[in-house]
Amino acid sequence: MTTPPPASAAASPPGATDPTLPGQSPATTIRRHVTDDQICVLTFDRADSTANVFDRAALMDLNEQIDFVQCHPELRGLVLVSAKKSIFIAGADLTQLARAKSPEELREMIELGQVVFSRIAALNIPTVAAIHGACVGGGYEVCLACDYRLASPEKATKIGLPETQLGILPAWGGCTRLPRLIGFPKALDIILGGKTLAAKPALKAGLIDEIVPREYLTDRACRVILERGLNLRRRPHQLLKSLLNWTPVVRLIAGKVAGPLNAKTRGHYPAIPKALEVISRGLGSSLEASLALEQDAILELGRTDVCRNLIRIFFLQERAKKLTGLPSSENVASLPRIEPVRRMAVIGAGVMGAGIAQWTSSRDISVILRDINDEAIAKGMAGIARLYEQGVKRHALTKLEARAGLDRISPSALEVPLGHTELVIEAAVEKMDLKQQLFARLDRLIGPETILASNTSALSISELAASTRHPERVVGIHFFNPVHRMQLVEVVVGRQTHPGVVRRAVKFVQQIGKLPVVVKDSPGFLVNRILMPYLVEAGYLFEQGARVEDIDESMLEFGMPMGPLRLIDEVGLDVANHVAADLADKFRERMQSPQVLSAMLKEGLLGRKSGKGFYVHGGKGDYAPVNPEIDRYHDGTRLAKLVREDLRNRMVLLMINESARCLEEGLVAEPADVDFGMIMGTGFAPFRGGPLRFADQLGIGHVVDEMMRLAGEGELRYTACNLLQTMAAAGTKFYQS
C-alpha cells in the first residue's frame, strides 16, 4: 500500500475560502490525551453540539491528530472515543455534502475522508474504536479503518451504513473495507439494505468485535492494545469468508442478487445497484482501486435528482423532529418548558384507538383506554397484545418491555376521572353528533390543563370544539393506519385552538417518536384531501374502461408503494366511498365518488374486509390477484385505450393540483409541508421529492398546459388552480434552489 500524503497535502484545496479551514477559527472537534502507557486517546467532542459529525473541519482536525501520532513513535496505540451522550459519530455532515456547489467540491470532500481514514489504517500501531451511541455512515467507516472495534450494549448504540437510503453509498471506505471484514454477502445485506444494527446483532454480524459496558470502553480499549498489540490486526483465517470473497463466487452472488433487486426497486433507486457493482468489482481490485470506484460512484449518484430528493427528505424529517408548532417569529427559548405527557386517555378501542394506546404505552405513557362495553375493550386489548407480541418477535422490544407496555394500559368500560391526564385523544366512531356529545362529556371530566384531541380523519375540529366549554384546548391529532408503522401525524389547528395547545400537541407527537405536520382545520386536512382526488380518479379511469392492472401498475412504476385501486381495497370501498362523499360536500366534482364504487358496494364488494373488491383477498400470504369478474363493472370504454403513461399522468396531475390548492388556501405553511406530509403519510414516491417538488421538476408551465388540455376535453376537474396558473404565467417554482 502506498504511503498516504501528509496532512498538508490533503488539506489545501485550490483556492479554498471555506471559513472552517484550520487556522481560520476551527471549532474544536477532537480532544487528545496520552495515557501513562503511551496510548493516544482521541475524544470526539464537537463544541456546541450534542452530535459529532464529519465535516471538513473535523476531518482536518483528525488528520492533524494523525500527524501527531506519526511524529511520536513512542506511542503504543490509538483509541477513538466520543464524549457525547448518545452519539459516537453521526456520519458525514450532510449539510456540507448537500451544499457542495460543484462536483469538484464534493470530490475533494470525499477524497479528504478517504485519505484521512486510510492514514489511520496505515498506522504502524494498533488502533481501536470504542463506540457508544450512534455510529453510522462515515462514523462507522472511520471505525472500519481501525484494527478493532468495541461497542457499548446500550440502546443509543446503533451501528451501520445507511447511505443507500439517502441515494448515495458509503464512499469513505465502507464499500471497500466492510466486505473484506465480514464477507461479501453480509456486507451486501448491510450496505444495500442501508441497515443500522444494535450492539448485539452488530457483534453477530461481525461489525464489532466485543461488547463492553460504556463505563469501561476506554479502559478495555487500552487493555486490548497493551495485551495484544498489532496482533489485533491478525484475524483468524475464515475459510468461508475467503471463499465468499473469491471473485468467481462474488460474481455469481452479484448476478443472483441483481435481478430481484431491480424488480423490487424498479430502477428508481440507482444507489442500490451501484453499490452492488462497486462492492463486487472492488473486491476483485486493490484497496486503492476500490476506493476510487467508491469515489466515482458517489459523484455520479450525487448528481441525481433522486439523491437530492432523498437527502431533502432526511432534512425534512430532522426539521419535523425540531418543529415547535409556533410561527417562526416566536422566540421559543423565552417560553416555559413543556413537560412530557405522562398520563393520557384514549377514548375508543377500535383499530385506531387500540393502535394509539399501544404506541403511546410503549413510549412510557400511562394510558386509560375507554370504550362503551367490555367486548369492544376485549377486542382492542387483544389487538394491542398482538402488536406487542409482534414487537417482541421482531426484536424491537424485549419480553419485559412488552409486558411493561401492556401494564401501562388501564382499560375501562365505565366512566373514570380524567383530571390528572395531560391529554385525551378521542378515536370513536366518525359521527359528528356522537363526537360532540362525547366531547361535551369529556370536557367535564378533564383537568384544567388537559388537552382534548380528536383523531378524526374527516370531521371539523372547530365544530367539535364548539361543543365544549374550552374550545381553545381542542386540537386534532390525526394518526395514520397502522399507527405503529406510519410516522406522520397531522396536528390539526381549529379556529379557536390556542397556540400553546398546538405547541404541546406538536411536542407530544415528537415525544412519542412520530413526525408532526401542522395543518389548518379543513375537510380531509392535508393528506387525505390530496389523496382523495387521486383515488377517485383511479376509480373513474376504471369505470371508463381502463384495466385494474394498468391503473395500479402505472402508479407502482411511478414509485407509489401500492396501486390506488389496491389501496381502496385495503381501506375498504365503504370507507373510501364515505370519505369521498364527505369531501365532495365541500369540493364537489373534484372528489365526487365514481359510480362504480356504489355499484360494487351494492354487491358486497368491500375490498379486503369482505374478501373481494378490485382484487380477491384471503389467498396465501399477501398475494391477491385481480378479481376475475371485475370487468363487468366497467361503464364505458372511452378511456380503455389510454396507455399507462397517460393513466399515471392524469392521477399525478390531480394530486399536484390538490397539493397546490392546499398551499393556496394556507392549510400549511410551506410547500415542504405538503411534500413531507404526502411522502410520510401515503408513501408518495420518496425519490420524487413529493408532489410539489415533482411539479417543479416537470415544470409548472408543462403541468398547467397538460391540465388545461384535459380540461378542454370536457374534464373540468382538470382545471388548474389559480396558484398553478399564476406560477406558470410568472415562471416561478415552488422551491427556489
Partner: protein, 426 residues
Amino acid sequence: MNTRLVIIDGLRTPFAKMGTDLARLAADELGRIAVSALLARTGLDPALIDEVIFGCVGQPAEAANVARVIALRSGIPQHVPAFTVHRNCASGCEAVTQAYEKMASGRGEIFIVGGTESMTQVPLFYPQSAAVKFGKLARAKSIGQRLSTLLSFRPADFKPRIGLQLGLTDPVCGLNMGETAEVLARELGIPREKQDAFALESHTRAVAARDKLAEEIAPVYPPLVKSVVTRDNGPRDNQNLDALAKLKPVFDRKHGTVTAGNSSQITDGAVALLVMTEEKATQLGFSPLGFLSGFAYVGCDPQRMGLGPVFAIAEAERRTGLTLEHADLIEINEAFAAQVLACLRCLKSDEFARTYLRRERPLGKVSKDILNVNGGAIALGHPVGATGARLILTSLKELARRKAKRALVSLCVGGGQGAAIWLERP
C-alpha cells in the same frame, strides 16, 4: 382507636376456580389488574401513595415480595415502598390492619392494600434429594463428575411435591386443613346434612347476589384472547342437596363428612383497596365507603384452627366493647361448612365461653339473616391471600346498600389463629 382508617373504595378481579378463566395469570398479574383498575376508577394520583401492602400466601417464585412487583407494574412510582404480608387465610386482612398500624404510628397516610393469590400457579417442587443433586451437578467441573452426578439421579428424585397440598397442611400438628374441619365435625357432632344445607345456602345466596357482586369486580382481559372475564365462576345456579349428598368425603374417606361440596373452592383472584386517614380523604375530596373501627388476631389450637373466629371475636369485643348485637352484618369465612357451623355453636355456648374464653356469658347468637348474606367461600372460592380483603370490601358495599351501620368480618386461619375486624359506615 383514636385515628380512624377510612376505606375509600375497592375493586377485585372476578374469582375463578383453579385451572379456569384466570389460570394463565400469575398472582402479580392478578394483583396488578385490581390495583390498576382501582387507580383508574378513583383517579388517585399514584405518587401520593405512602405504601403498598399486599397479602399473598403462595408468592410466585419469580415475583418475590409480590406487593412490590404489583406496585411497580401498576404504574405506582418507584419511590413508593411496598411489602408483602402473610398470615395465611387472613393475609388480606393483615394488609389492611398493617396500614392501620402504620397510620397510627405516623408512618404514612395513604395506602393501597389488598390480597392476591393464584392457586393454579402454586408450583410443584422437586424433593430435597433432587435439589441436592442438581446443586452438585451445577458445581461439577469435569465431564466425569458431571456424568457420575447425572447417574446418581433416581426416579424418586423426580416425584413432585405438590405445593398446594404442602401449603394446606399444618406443619406443626400434621393435619391438613380439611382434617381439622373433620375434627370439629366429629367433636361437636355436626352432621353431613347440616353441612350440605349450609353449602347450598352459600351457592343460593351468591347466585342471587351476582349483580351486587358485579359492583366490586373489575373485568379481566386475558392477553391475546378477544374475551373478557367479568363474573365469579364458582357459584352454581343448579346446585342442589342431592348433588351435594352424592359427593365422597375427601379427608376421611371412611367416616368423614367434609366433601369438596361443603368446603371452600380453590380459586384464583385478587382484591385491592384504597385506604387513608380521614384527614386525607377530606383533603382529596373522597367520600369513604367506611371505617376500620377495631380488630383482633388471636392464636388457638392448630388442630381446631376452625374455631379461630370465636376467639378473635371475643378479643375484639374486649378491645372495642362491640358485641354481636352491634353487628348489622357478619361474615365468618367459609373455609368449611363444618367449621362455620362449629363457630356458630361455640359463639352461643355457655360452656365454651366458660372453658375457653374465661367469661361468664357466651358471645351470643348469630342470626342467619345477617350471616354471609351474599354467599361465601364455598360458592365464591377462597383465594387464600385475597379472601380477607374481599370480605371487607363485600361487607362494606353491602352495608352501604342496606344503609346499615356495622359489620363484623372474621376468618379462621391455618396454623391455629383467628381474625376479627369491625367495620363501620360513616
